[in-house]
């Protein structure tokens, strides 16, 4: 009896989360029917005519569809790799800094951009990389002609990944620093007594110590592969870089909300959901395999 009563509170605490999940994640799923309709907002989903797979046929005719999927995965994977390696390396370097004051101030400074929105950072970045902006002025000193950075489709994915890593690496570093503090100092002492150099310490003590954290983060981020970052790309892109910078979310936004092609946008969004579901299942399985992480 006692334990049952105890559990009640937990269920009660779950309730808000469940309500949220149902209202914002399950109920909207119902809207998927739009993809199979000739949707008309005046008539709503109940009044609109069903057209079967017509929209999907058109979707696969478009050059855009495959392009957009490729961009999404390409940008997302680069972001995952960048967001894994850069903070890790940075955390290891910061860990070697012995002067606490310096360590703390560096840490504070590098995670500041995390708290700025892409609306602000987007404007700043566009100005910095503008034709007459500081980067081009700098290049000009070396005799390099100005480059229209955000107008170049070949550079755009790298600018997106680079700026995202720059924005987030400071914050992600904290996770690794936390993991580093969890390593038993006795291990370091023992290894030092055995005559290990600093590099050896890093290789044989520090890295194994945070391996679980790194793998877990990597595996969990797989579930995000199809979220390449709407906010960021939306604030940085322009028609010149649609070919390499348009991701599913931005494309769906333009097709569905700006150009009123509801069916098409929903169909592409649905495809994204299906692929996302598979990736989440995969990452969950991998997390279980490698780190024994499981929810149920």
């Amino acid at each position: 009896m006692r334990t049952k009563g105890f559990a009640k509170h937990y269920y009660l605490m779950l309730l808000p989360g469940f309500v949220w999940l149902i209202l914002f994640s399950l109920v909207p799923m119902f809207g998927i029917v739009i993809a199979f309709q000739n949707y008309n907002p005046g008539l709503g989903v109940f009044g609109s005519e069903f057209v079967g797979l017509e929209t999907f046929r058109y979707m696969f005719q478009l050059n855009d569809t495959m392009n957009v999927f490729f961009n999404t995965i390409y940008i997302a994977i680069m972001k995952i790799v960048g967001n894994l390696i850069v903070p890790l390396v940075f955390a290891l370097m910061l860990n070697e800094v012995r002067y606490m004051g310096l360590k703390r101030s560096i840490q504070t400074i590098v995670y500041l951009p995390h708290f700025l929105s892409w609306v602000i950072l987007g404007g700043v970045l566009l100005d910095i990389f503008a034709y007459g902006g500081p980067i081009n002025q700098l290049l000009g000193m070396f005799g390099i002609d100005p480059i229209l950075f955000f107008g170049r489709a070949d550079l755009f994915p790298f600018l997106v990944v680079g700026s995202d890593v720059w924005k987030e690496f400071g914050f992600n570093t904290i996770i690794y620093l936390a993991a580093l503090t969890g390593i038993n100092p006795a291990l370091y002492e023992a290894a030092s007594i055995d005559g290990a150099s600093r590099l050896r310490l890093l290789w044989h003590v520090t890295l194994p110590g945070i391996r679980t954290t790194a793998v877990l983060l990597a595996v969990l981020s797989l579930g995000n592969v199809l979220n390449a970052g709407f906010d960021q790309i939306f604030n940085l892109y322009n028609p010149l870089v649609y070919s390499s910078g348009d991701i599913i979310d931005t494309w769906v936004y333009r097709a569905g909300l700006l150009n009123l092609q509801y069916e098409l946008a929903t169909a592409v969004g649905l495809l994204k959901s299906v692929a996302g579901f598979m990736l989440i299942s995969l990452s969950y399985y991998l997390a279980y395999r490698f780190t024994n992480y499981r929810i149920f």
Partner: protein
């Protein structure tokens, strides 16, 4: 037990969420059948006895600094006038800057959450009608449109009403604007030309040479390499005006295309007499090649397509030339002249084609529409607001609040309004006519104030329109208007125009689904060809894609429409 309760709860909530949608759709269906019976005798200018509120979607230009004395977009000379004369209180359902307004309208349509009334374009209008979201305004138009508005709308020989009539019902109130809006003149810094000893460029080759001189010879004399020869479109404008948006394209390359007889974005009659889409023709490829060439030589703004607002560099005095309609003094030129009183912007009907003729593309008179939400109780309020504007526009002073702040503003002008104004001003200045001669022309609503005030802002000699012979400070609002007429419109009055019209200016059925994608590949390909990131032969691939992805079918539909 608890589990059961939880699931029951969730299930009920799911039901509620679904049935809510049910209810709302039913509601709209019901309203469909209720007919509107005017509760009081129809009077186009009559004030309501009880205050009526109307929540509108409005475009508010954040860079428009003309509002004075604590006025706001919701409380200014226009909204106060509407309140006093009609007893209508205006509220905002939403506001958006010019570059975001269309997005905001689309969002409102997509979410089925419309303001009581708003201004939309032809694409949105069709969408709204098909979605059955807006009110039938047939009776409103018949009973409440003022005689002046009816006269102007009829003057377009039925085109304006045709554009808003669906199944015999008038679904929106159309505008009717001066045809001058659709011609994109070449605007040049004449003081730069004079400084470098150059003439206005007659041909395309001249244009290149002038652009080159503007870029390379430091026309502003500041010793820095910071000048732009020819401005290009920013993110909210287009490479060229098209059949759906045929007017008011700023900083595009319209003049260059038309000088090569290329009319991209327009439906033209092909050699076999059937409609063809101008963007797919060899002339367009040639024009793209020309532009590509200019761009690679640095004669065009290097940041076309990325720039947020090309007007900024006009105001700051870095730009030497651009294409735009006659009303550019209402745009960046007022600020440009405020900034630098020597910025002598003049406009020309140039460049000419190979035969020495001026061959711009022409617009339709009707491009914007006021629509009213389906269940709004006072659909005639929108009409009254428009009547009020046309009847009183000359009383408002644009320098204490630009006309853009008038709620639901549509432009009503006889097609030749600007040309008539220009000629009238010239005659008054020359002394061959008195201002009084123009008082009795009510459709030309601003003409009286134009002729009354021209002597305040124009200095002698009257036939020289260089900026030093003007006094903008005397009356900035009147200066803007008079400069638009005597400088902006002058080329249209003095030049013989061999303009080209599009065969249609509205969408066909297949366009609703396919046009977005076709226009996207067109815009991207052309921009990339000009900027050199795609080869010129990408054009041929574009034509192929365009035809196979729906263009062929659309061309047939256009042929059907034209044949009717």
């Amino acid at each position: 037990m608890l589990k059961k309760i939880l699931f029951l709860l969730l299930f009920v909530m799911l039901l509620v969420a679904c049935s809510n949608e049910d209810a709302s759709t039913d509601e709209t269906d019901d309203k469909d059948t209720t007919s509107e019976t005017p509760s009081e005798p129809a009077d186009p200018f009559g004030a309501y006895e009880e205050t009526v509120t109307i929540a509108i979607g409005q475009e508010v230009d954040p860079s428009d600094t003309s509002l004075q004395d604590g006025d706001t977009p919701l409380d200014n000379q226009y909204t106060r006038h509407v309140k006093e004369n009609l007893n209508i209180v205006v509220q905002h359902a939403f506001t958006a800057s010019p570059s975001n307004y269309d997005q905001k309208v689309s969002l409102a349509i997509a979410s089925n959450d419309l303001p009581d009334a708003m201004v939309v374009g032809p694409v949105e209008l069709r969408q709204l009608v098909e979605a059955d979201q807006i009110a039938d305004l047939t009776e409103v138009y018949e009973n409440y449109a003022s005689p002046a508005i009816k006269e102007i709308i009829d003057s377009s020989s039925g085109v304006a009403l045709e554009n808003v009539t669906f199944d015999g019902k008038i679904m929106a109130i159309p505008n009717s604007q001066a045809s001058a809006d659709g011609v994109h003149n070449l605007w040049i810094r004449k003081d730069w030309l004079d400084k470098l000893g150059l003439e206005p460029p007659k041909t395309l080759d001249d244009l290149k040479e002038v652009a080159r001189a503007f870029v390379e010879e430091d026309p502003d004399g500041n010793g820095q390499d910071d000048t732009i020869g020819l401005a290009g479109p920013d993110t909210s404008n287009k490479l060229y005006a098209n059949f759906l948006e045929s007017t008011n394209n700023l900083y595009g390359f319209d003049g260059i295309f038309s000088a090569l007889h290329a009319y991209p974005g327009y439906w033209l009659e092909g050699e076999d007499g059937k409609p063809v889409y101008g963007s797919t023709l060899p002339e367009t490829k040639e024009a793209l090649s020309f532009l590509r060439n200019m761009y690679s030589e640095g004669l065009i703004d290097p940041e076309i397509g990325v720039r947020e607002d090309s007007g900024e560099s006009v105001i700051s005095g870095n730009t030497g030339m651009f294409f735009g309609p006659f009303w550019m003094p209402y745009g960046p030129l007022t600020d440009a002249v405020k900034n630098n009183p020597d910025a002598n912007w003049q406009s020309y009907a140039l460049p000419l084609d190979a035969n020495g003729e001026y061959t711009p593309h022409l617009s339709t008179t009707t491009t914007q529409f006021v629509v009213v939400r389906k269940d709004y109780e006072h659909p005639e309020a929108a009409m009254k607001i428009l009547n009020n504007l046309l009847a009183n526009e000359s009383e408002f002073d644009p320098s204490i609040g630009g006309p853009g702040f008038y709620p639901l503003r549509l432009v009503y002008a006889p097609a030749d309004e600007m040309e008539v104004t220009t000629v009238a001003l010239r005659e008054v200045l020359a002394g061959t006519k008195e201002p009084e001669d123009f008082y009795d022309m009510p459709a030309y609503k601003l003409l009286k104030s134009d002729v009354d005030h021209i002597h305040e802002v124009k200095l002698e000699p009257y036939d020289n329109t260089d900026i030093e012979y003007w006094d903008p400070q005397a009356n900035l609002g009147q200066w803007t208007r008079a400069y638009s007429a005597l400088v902006g419109t002058a080329p249209l009055v003095d030049t013989e125009i061999n303009g080209v019209k599009s065969l249609i200016y509205s969408q066909t059925k297949t366009m609703e689904d396919r046009w977005v994608n076709l226009k996207k590949i067109e815009d991207e390909t052309f921009l990339k060809i000009i900027m050199g990131t795609e080869s010129l032969d990408a054009f041929d691939q574009f034509v192929e894609d365009w035809n196979s992805q729906g263009g062929e079918q659309i061309t047939e539909e256009v042929a059907d429409v034209v044949a009717k």
